[in-house]
């Protein structure tokens, strides 16, 4: 006789898993609506440590009681897929609503935490359930010397480490922006309430340089200043190695000379001077019906006025302002514990590691460009970062094995 299993009758499957996960999401929404968003600073050190130990204790308990119906269900695929489904569902909401740091107008969506999804109770509860279920599942599985187990363990432990240390470590993560004048040493920053904070780390800025891309030429309408042709503006890249000419409305424009670090030396000429106030300048020649004229042009900067060239009564040839190619700080770093670090080439994508701190090139005085008198840095303190990297490494290895092995069918 075939007996259809009724809901809540063990063993639990999808119906029970989905019901429980939905219930937890609803509890999350209710908590959100009544007590507001989850405060991550509840989990700052040492509370995250206690919570971490409790999670590990739970996982150990799950192994000891792995034959109990509850833990069989808790580490089952049905429950995992339901949790994955819930986190996907919450992420879709997050992907469709604009995430904001501060809510200015309350409505039903903000009440449920949709605009701050990652700190909403529903998201946090599902995240930690996932962490516990994943941990128990890893611990339950018997180690074997098989490809299948290797792929399983690398991917699952990798993911667990990332979720564990990124989630629990989040409240220990601090980031600050520090502004340092050239030649000075700074250890004070503003926190998010604009209060001055003294950090246990100081940065000495020895020098700051900006490298710029070689600019372009463009023809503009003298009355409106618009780059022509209006519907599809043409920018001609200056290239000293190329003999290519720039043709516009029958005018042939040719580059005769280019100086990257130029300073105006008379009313109408430039010479090379490698100083901060210099800017790119080009000597160009325009030919039209046997008429030839040459002129220096430059986009100028804060110290030098721009120079353009009349083509006719309506058109003028101009140079585009230089775009930054890289900005580089030469710094020395001192920590309170007596640490000393030095980096002559601190630039975007190349941070400096100083103990648990990482220092990033952040910005400079955009108005002054090359003449900026300061450089700014982002300082990130993340004591758990290395553990997240271990997780990323394991997961990357696991992914590589997925590519090589595919799905391992039992023969």
């Amino acid at each position: 006789m075939h007996n259809k299993k009724r809901i809540w009758q063990i063993p639990w499957g999808y119906r029970e898993s989905i019901a429980i996960v939905l219930g937890i999401v609803l509890v999350g929404f209710m908590l959100q609506a009544t007590i507001g968003k989850f405060d991550f600073y509840l989990l700052s050190f040492p509370f995250n440590l206690y919570f971490g130990i409790l999670s590990l204790a739970f996982i150990v308990l799950s192994v000891l009681l792995k034959r109990k119906a509850f833990f069989i269900w808790f580490t089952s695929l049905s429950f995992s897929v339901s949790l994955i489904g819930a986190i996907t569902f919450l992420s879709i909401i997050m992907g469709l609503t604009k995430q904001v740091p501060i809510i200015d107008k309350a409505n039903i969506f903000t009440l449920l935490g949709f605009n701050q999804m990652t700190s909403s109770w529903a998201f946090v509860l599902i995240y930690f359930l996932l962490l516990l279920s994943l941990g128990s599942t890893i611990a339950k599985r018997k180690p074997r010397l098989t490809k299948q187990y290797l792929v399983f363990i690398l991917n699952h432990i990798g993911l667990w480490l990332i979720l564990f240390f990124a989630g629990l470590g989040y409240s220990d993560l601090n980031r600050y922006i520090m502004y340092v004048e050239i030649g000075e040493t700074q250890w004070r920053v503003y926190d998010k309430d604009s209060k001055v904070v003294e950090l246990p780390i100081a940065i000495q800025l020895n020098s700051f340089t900006i490298e710029q891309y070689i600019p372009k030429l463009a023809v503009i309408d003298k009355k409106t200043g618009e780059v022509l042709p209006k519907d599809k503006p043409i920018y001609f890249q200056i290239d000293t190695n190329s003999k290519e000419e720039f043709t516009f409305n029958g005018y042939k424009i040719r580059l005769k000379n280019y100086i990257h670090n130029a300073v105006r030396s008379s009313d109408s000429s430039y010479k090379e001077v490698p100083m901060k106030a210099s800017c790119p300048a080009a000597l160009v020649e325009i030919r039209n019906n046997n008429k030839v004229k040459s002129h220096w042009i430059s986009a100028g900067n804060k110290m030098q006025s721009p120079m353009f060239m009349d083509i006719d009564s309506n058109l003028a040839l101009v140079m585009t302002p230089s775009e930054p190619k890289s900005f580089i700080s030469n710094i020395e770093v001192y920590t309170q514990e007596g640490g000393y670090y030095k980096e002559e080439n601190l630039r975007v994508n190349h941070p400096l590691k100083a103990g648990s701190w990482r220092i990033y090139q952040y910005g400079y005085d955009n108005n002054m460009g090359k003449m900026s008198s300061y450089s700014s840095f982002e300082l990130v303190y993340d004591p758990w970062l290395n553990m997240v990297y271990v997780g990323i490494g394991l997961l990357a290895l696991g992914s590589l094995l997925l590519i090589i092995f595919g799905k391992n069918y039992k023969k």
Binding site: Q99, D239, P324, S326, I403, G406
Partner: protein, 259 residues
């Protein structure tokens, strides 16, 4: 070897790849096909080496140079993946995508006119994008196979081989997707100080990957395969939104992935 000579290496490479990806369908010409494809890759690599030597710096700086590497890595990794998995269409696919990047470079060589902003000047840029392109191809192919299987199941025809193909394609694609994402994390950490910041594109990438995770886990269970196949189709739709659609979402204005 300057950029002017590119065409003399690019066209022979494309030709070799096209012939190889046609010959692969003829049983007796597999070996020749492999040799020709490798010759195409070598010709292309030779240009990169000579060009590198000519410009006296690593060619990673401009958009045009970046495309050189896409063509090289997509064909190379595509070929290796083909050798492991023996999916013949993979050679045609990598030939197509590799050639598209070459043709763009021939028609619109942005060798000095495109200035990469500092955040984009990273050694993670090329592997990050290459890995994603390869994963898209696997997921695209697996979804086509899933649709075919759904039609077959409608007529009550089972096809265990097709099931295996779908599973393997998804595993390989998932590997590339996860690698691409992890490399993105490393890059983001170096550029912005965060390995993950729930930027809208990241959120969409995350929910795409979790949907593929759901597929993989439902396939381990003995549940109706049609449910899994539908998850796969939904996953590809989400993937396309992540790839192309995020820029248009009102929730994504200000994303670091929108330029």
């Amino acid at each position: 070897m300057s950029w002017d000579s590119f065409i003399w290496f690019a066209l022979p490479s494309i030709l070799l790849w096209v012939i190889a990806s046609l010959l692969v369908y003829k049983t007796n010409y597999r070996l020749i096909s492999n040799i020709l494809f490798l010759m195409g890759i070598s010709t292309f690599l030779l240009f990169i080496i000579l060009f590198w030597n000519h410009i006296n710096r690593p060619p990673f700086r401009t958009m045009g140079e970046t495309r050189l590497w896409y063509s090289f890595f997509i064909t190379t990794i595509g070929f290796i993946t083909y050798r492991i998995w023996k999916y013949k269409w993979l050679l045609s696919y990598t030939t197509l995508v590799g050639s598209v990047f070459i043709i763009i470079n021939l028609l619109k060589p942005e060798i000095h006119s495109t200035n990469l902003m500092p955040a984009l000047q990273s050694s993670w840029f090329i592997p990050h994008v290459t890995s994603y392109i390869l994963s898209y191809s696997m997921f695209g192919a697996s979804t086509i196979a899933a649709i075919i299987l759904l039609f077959k199941l409608r007529k009550d025809k089972e096809d265990k081989e097709l099931e295996k193909l779908i599973d393997n394609l998804v595993y390989v694609g998932f590997g590339f997707l996860a690698l691409g994402m992890l490399m993105g994390c490393m890059w983001a950490k170096a550029a912005w100080g965060n390995y993950w910041s729930w930027d809208p594109k990241e959120t969409w990438a995350f929910l795409t990957i979790t949907t593929y995770l759901a597929f993989i886990h439902t396939r381990i269970q003995k549940i109706d395969i049609r449910i899994s196949l539908w998850i796969l189709i939904i996953a590809l739709i989400l993937l396309c939104i992540t790839w192309l659609g995020v820029s248009y979402l009102p929730s994504a204005q200000g994303s670091v992935h929108v330029y």
